[in-house]
Amino acid sequence: MSEGLNFLEKLDGFAGIDRRWIQIKEAETSPNYGKHPEERTINELMKLGVINLDKPPGPTSHEVTSWIKKMLGVGKAGHAGTLEPA
């Protein structure tokens, strides 16, 4: 619990969220499945990761995103300017 919650508090801090956590019950998580997000391998990060890109001013967001997609060899990449079709 604590390790996962530490990471969640880190997320809160990153976003500047100042909400208290309320624990309802004691619970443990099995080490046999799942993985702490900060222990992901590079291949796992490329499947569920995000890059805070310092975008160069010239090219469009779309162009930059497509370069990253090629550079990393990932199947899909998107930027925050696009709304996915519903």
Binding site: I17, I22, G34, I42, V50, I51, N52, L83, E84
Partner: protein, 249 residues
């Protein structure tokens, strides 16, 4: 700055698109105006404003309201004014500056624009340049050293870091990945002040994102109830079969 989501993390882009944005922009005034008058008009454009999307835009051109959280004058060097704007998603900054110019009566246009915040992502030490990234990819591919690249790719969970959060038990995770809602017995911990109808993010006890959803109860109601639905699942992020399904009784 531009957060770029990889593969499955793309499913969370909507929450960044709908989040607060901040920009640094250069406004060029077409005639000199009194500083006091400028500050007065700037103040008028803080809070709720009406905005008609520009001719070349991707949305319907109907008058709509947007909230400007902060409008700060960083520097004045006539005819240019350096501004920092923190605003609701979907605000057209070019239009905002044009409108400020209209109200000032002298006209104005946007000369430069840089986004400095998208929801939780800001211009801080997590920023990565294209150059840094391509170097890290080279080190990874040619020298088999993944350490630099790993520093540059953040866990996708950061994309929903600004949402209220709920932690689910291991046994609730699998069914959520198949689209089930999160019931109260499956809740281990949650943020205070969650309101019914809020967008929330569901995590495992290890801190992995499972899904996003809509809170069906306030935090207090979840604490007081023994059963019922806490979160209606909206978008499943985690892949299936990572957590085992409950054993059948």
């Amino acid at each position: 700055m531009l957060p770029v989501a990889l593969e499955n993390a793309s499913k969370m882009l909507k929450y960044l698109t709908l989040s607060t944005k901040a920009y640094i922009t250069v406004m060029q005034l077409h005639k000199k105006v009194d500083k006091g008058r400028l500050m007065e008009v700037i103040k008028e454009f803080t809070g709720r404003i009406y905005q008609k999307p520009p001719v070349r835009s991707s949305v319907k051109r109907a008058l709509r309201t947007k909230t400007i959280y902060e409008l700060e004058v960083l520097e004045i060097n006539y005819p240019c004014v350096l501004l920092k704007i923190t605003c609701e998603h979907g605000t057209y900054v070019r239009k905002l500056i044009h409108d400020i110019g209209e109200v000032l009566g002298v006209g104005a246009h946007m000369r430069e624009l840089r986004r400095v915040r998208t929801g939780p992502f800001k211009e801080d030490k997590s920023l990565v340049t294209m150059h840094q990234l391509s170097e890290a990819v080279y080190i990874y591919k040619e020298l088999n050293d993944e350490s630099t690249l790993k520093k540059y790719i953040m866990p996708g969970e950061y994309m929903v870091s600004h949402l209220p959060k709920i932690v689910a038990t291991d046994s609730a995770v699998a069914s959520i990945t198949y689209g089930a809602d999160l019931a109260i017995p499956g809740v281990v911990a949650l943020h205070e002040k969650i309101r019914k109808g809020d967008d929330v993010a569901i995590f495992t006890l290890k801190g992995e994102i499972v899904a996003t959803g809509i809170a069906q109860k306030h935090t207090e109601e979840v604490l007081e109830s023994k059963k019922g639905i806490a979160v209606k699942t909206k978008r499943v992020i985690m892949e299936r079969k990572i957590y085992p399904r409950k054993t059948r009784i």
